[in-house]
Every structure is written in structure tokens, then in C-alpha cells.
Amino acid sequence: MIRALLADDEWAARAKLALWLSEQGDIDVVAQCEDGIVAAEAISRHAPEVAFLDIQMPGLTGLEVAAQLEQGEAPLLVFVTAYDAHAIRAFELNAIDYLLKPFDKDRLLLTLARVRGRIRDRAAAASAVATARAQTHSSERLLVPDGGQLQLIETATIEWIEADDNYVHVHTLSRTYLLRRTLQDLLSQLGERQFARIHKSAAVNLTAIRALAPLFKGDHEVQLGSGKTVRLSRRYKDALFARMQR
């Protein structure tokens, strides 16, 4: 069975898609979501193999949901939209498929044939996430778990990020969030401009750096605005110094 998730803010649209998907026999609709935040939550909870995302949704648009996904764990993404020439052009190149509203069953079958052909195709899922990131302001806002819920924080408020096995701790001035993401993928979402890696398992917001203090043997310590200090390893030192002098 292919585990599918669908997200659309209109119940009728969800009902039609769910009806046609369940008729297929090999597709299990694991979740139906009515807005973007719920969809992001459900994707991380159910880890579906394919997600049908409406682009225009409250909370987060379908594109924004996609932009916040970990590239390595994203489902195949099928975008569903009424009229959004800009996004469509981008996804003609990179998404597994996109459906233009209204669509008929034949068109959906074509999409499903593509989905079946590329199920567990990591590269296809990752390239859709990358396109969505480029289409949205995904480097400015980050979706983080807060209690049982997800919420968006401004990435400018992040001071530093610490990797911990399959998780990352995202430290803001006021609190810390634990995300199931890799540091590398998170940095690729946040972009090179604002954050710099200073250690195999740490990255800092460049604007949060107060001072660089030398330790012995060429190692340095990065002092952050909050008073926290993080070790700068020799491997990343030259790159960071070069960026700080810019």
C-alpha cells in the first residue's frame, strides 16, 4: 500500500480526492489536513510516501509546508493549485507532478502512475523540497515543534544550532527547540547568508557573534550575544574569519 496524505482547505476538494484515491486499492489515505500547519505536523507524524498539497491554504501554503520538510525524509510531493503561474513554472521542472484545479479522474490516474513509478525515489522528493524552498521565504521562518504543536519562528531570532544525533537543538535567546532534522539540511534551508558552521555539530547566526577569543593550539571560542560560548574548530576557522572580515 502507498501511504498518502492530502491537504486542502476545502472539505469538498479533500473529499473528492480521498474518494478517488481510496478507489485505487493500492493507496491508503493516512491523513486529510485542512491547513498548512496541520499538514506539516501530519507529514512528520505519519511519514507518508506521497503528499498532495494544495498551494493556497491558511497557516502555511503548500509550498511553505514543502520548504520546511527535511530533504532526506520528504514524501513525493504533488502540488494542487487553481491558478498560480509562477509556482507552476517552477514545478514543471522539479515536482513529481502538479494538478491544476479542476482536474478529472484521468488526470489524477496519470499522476498516480508517475507516483507509483517513483515511489521511494529520494532524489525526486528532495528536488521538490529544494524548489519549494527557492519559491518561498523559507530562510526567514522556521517551523518548530512547541509542545504538541508546530509553530513558526523568525530565523533571525535563532542564536545558534547544535546537532545531536538525528536531532538538532535550535537555540533562540528565549528558549530551545528540538527538531528531528539534520544540521546540514537545516542549514541548507536557512541559507548561507545568515548562518555559518563553526563545528562539525554546531552553527551560529553571524549577527549573534560578539567576539572571537583564541584558545590554545589555534582553536578559538565564539562568544555569543547571550553570553554563551561555543568552540570554533580549526577546520571551519578560516572560512568564518574570512566571512567576518567581509
Binding site: 482547505d9 476545502e10 469538498a12 473529499a15 473528492k16 491547513d35 493556497q56 487553481a82 479542476p102
Partner: protein, 375 residues
């Protein structure tokens, strides 16, 4: 359409006057140059006559004509400042324009004789000579006649200068108005219903067909009506408020089918106003904005209030919604801008449009003259 453009042309003439002032000032240089040339010519002729008559003292004709020139220039400056300020509103009615100027003729003639002859007598006396001229009765009659002819001639010149500038300014204003009218009509047409709206509505119908045929049919009918109304020829700019509200109702009914559990709509309409004329589909973009920014993006239930009330001689149309706010770096969107431009073209300064953002929501308000709709 013809009625509209003539109304639009007549109304904002007040705005045209500022434009006109600049145009007139540019032409003043030419007027003064002409004036200077005219007086140089007069002085040369006077000097030549004086020599031909056997005169020997060159300063005399220069002084006679010079004193006249100084006084006349004073009159011209007076006309270009105070006279123009007070009387140029009658440029469209030449009889009144000339009348208002000519009523000062006796004062000017008397002033001329007293001042110019006074100066001449004074200067001659200072030089130990006597200024001889015809008896005073003759002088007053002769100078008055000469001055009348002179002032008449120059008023004609000034009038043609000013009325040409006025005409040109009006022409430019009219052109600008016509261009704005054409642009706003085009923009209004394209902004009336976004393609997004149609495709989403079609999708809802396509989904409802599998779930609830009666509802799908109802929605399709509403969409058909709305489409028919929006495809009607754009010849008539004004429609009765009742018709405008009927289209809004169709639109909101379709949106309610899609977002039933996420929005409530309240109508606050003064029924005495239903026959008043409003620009067709004026409020459409505002209601569309409320759906786009609050209902479609927000996660809470949204309340939209659509109101048409009277405030003195004005009709106040407003669309208020909860669940959205104006960001600090807010820029007015196409919808609101089109509304304002259409109002400007149709009513000039008499209409206004603005957006109010607060913690609880956003309010778009349009104020326009409350006039009975005449088909």
C-alpha cells in the same frame, strides 16, 4: 459614457487651475518682451517726431514717453498680479472678463493724468523750466481717449495670451482624465474577478458533483449568474446600489459554499439607498480582499461586514473583516488602488477611499456623493 466624460471634465476644473498657473507664468516672459518692444518703438517714434519738429533737447521726448511707460508698466504689473488673481476665473466668459477690467478705466485715466503730469511738472520745475501743454480739460479728454485705446489694445493681447494658456491647460487636464478613465476601466475589468476565483469555484463544483449534486447545481447556477453579470458590456459605469449588492451576494454565496465553516457575513444596508447610483463592481475587489487576506490565509473564523449607509450627502460603502491586519510595511494593493482611481475619475475630490487597520481587523471605506441612479 458621453454623460460620464462630460461630467468628469466639468468637475475637476478646480484641479486644473493649479496646472494653469504654471502655463500662464511661462507665457508672461513673452508678454513682457512684447511690451518692452512696443515702448521702445513708441519712444523712437516720439523722438523722431520731436527732431522733425525742430526740437533740440533729446531728453524731453525720452522723458515724456518714459514717464508714460513707467506708469503703464505699473498698470500692467497690477493686471498680471491682482487683476489676474481676481478676474481670470472669467476667462471662459470674455464679456465679463473685459467688463471687470474696464471698470477700472476711469481710475486709470485720472491716475495717469495726475501722476504723469504731476511728475513732468515737478521735473521741469526742478530744472528751472516750465512744462507747457494744452488746457487741462483738453488734456484729460485727450489722454483718456488715448489710454482707452491703449488699454483696450493691450487687454486684447493679454486676454489672448491667458485664454490660450487656460485652454491648453484644460486640454492637458482633459487628456490626463481621459487616459485615467480608460486605464481604470481596463483595470476594473481585469480586477473584477480574479482567475483564481473562477478556477477554485469550478473545482468546488467538480468536487461537489460527486458528493452532493443539488449543491453542485446551485453553485454552478450562481457562478453562471456572476459570469453573465461580469461579461455585460461595460458601457454603463453606474448601476443602482441594489444591483451592485446583488452581485456581491452572488459572489459571497459562492465563497460561502467553499468556506462555510470559516466565515460569517453580515449585511448592514440602508434600504433607502438601494436606488442610488454607484460605480459597477466597485466593492467587489474589497470583498475579494477580505476573503483573500483573512479567510483564505487565516486559521480562525472570520467575520465580514458589508455596509452601505448614508452620511449627510454622502454614500458610505465599507467592507470590514476580522482575522487580518495591515503589516507595518503595508503597500496598497491593486484592488484598493483601482477603487480609488475609479472614484477619482467619476467624482473628483468629492469622493474618498481609505483603509483602516486595527488589532481586530481591516476596514475599507469608500465615500462618494449620494446621487439617485439615472439610467
Amino acid at each position: 459614457m458621453a454623460a460620464i466624460s462630460s461630467e468628469a471634465a466639468a468637475d475637476p476644473l478646480a484641479g486644473g487651475l493649479t496646472l494653469e498657473a504654471g502655463a500662464i507664468r511661462r507665457s508672461d516672459g513673452l508678454l513682457y518682451a512684447l511690451w518692452g518692444l512696443f515702448w521702445v518703438l513708441l519712444i523712437v517714434i516720439a523722438a523722431r517726431d520731436y527732431f522733425h519738429g525742430g526740437g533740440q533737447q533729446l531728453w524731453k521726448p525720452l522723458f515724456w514717453e518714459g514717464s508714460s511707460a513707467v506708469f503703464s508698466t505699473l498698470l500692467l504689473v497690477l493686471q498680471r498680479t491682482a487683476g489676474r488673481r481676481s478676474y481670470n476665473r472669467w476667462l471662459g466668459e470674455p464679456m465679463k472678463w473685459f467688463g471687470h477690467h474696464l471698470k477700472w478705466l476711469p481710475v486709470c485715466a485720472l491716475g495717469f493724468v495726475v501722476v504723469v503730469y504731476g511728475v513732468r511738472h515737478g521735473v521741469y520745475a526742478l530744472l528751472g523750466q516750465t512744462y507747457r501743454h494744452e488746457p487741462w480739460a483738453f488734456v484729460i479728454g485727450y489722454e483718456s481717449l488715448k489710454l482707452s485705446l491703449f488699454i483696450g489694445l493691450w487687454l486684447g493681447v493679454i486676454f489672448s495670451f491667458d485664454s490660450f494658456a487656460h485652454w491648453r491647460a484644460q486640454q492637458q487636464h482633459l487628456l490626463a482624465l481621459q487616459r485615467a478613465l480608460a486605464e481604470s476601466r481596463l483595470a476594473a475589468l481585469s480586477s473584477q474577478l480574479r482567475p483564481h476565483f473562477f478556477f477554485n469555484a469550478l473545482n468546488t463544483i467538480s468536487a461537489l458533483m460527486h458528493l452532493d449534486v443539488a449543491r453542485a447545481n446551485r453553485l454552478l447556477t450562481r457562478l453562471g449568474e456572476l459570469l453573465r453579470a461580469s461579461l455585460q458590456p461595460q458601457g454603463k459605469d453606474l448601476v443602482p446600489l441594489a444591483e451592485e449588492l446583488r452581485l456581491l451576494e452572488l459572489y459571497t454565496q459562492i465563497m460561502l459554499e467553499r468556506f462555510a465553516d470559516r466565515v460569517t457575513i453580515e449585511w448592514r444596508i440602508d434600504h433607502a439607498l438601494l436606488t442610488r447610483g454607484v460605480p459597477a463592481m466597485l466593492m467587489q475587489p474589497l470583498v475579494e480582499n477580505a476573503f483573500k487576506h483573512a479567510v483564505e490565509r487565516g486559521r480562525q473564523r472570520v467575520h465580514i461586514e458589508i455596509a452601505a449607509v448614508r452620511d449627510g450627502g454622502n454614500l458610505v460603502l465599507s467592507v470590514r473583516n476580522t482575522g487580518s491586519s495591515l503589516p507595518p510595511d503595508f503597500h496598497e494593493g491593486v484592488g484598493m488602488r483601482n477603487c480609488r482611481e475609479r472614484l477619482q475619475v467619476l467624482y473628483g475630490e468629492a469622493a474618498t477611499a481609505w483603509l483602516n487597520g486595527s488589532a481586530t481587523g481591516v476596514e475599507a471605506v469608500l465615500v462618494l456623493p449620494c446621487r439617485e441612479h439615472s439610467p
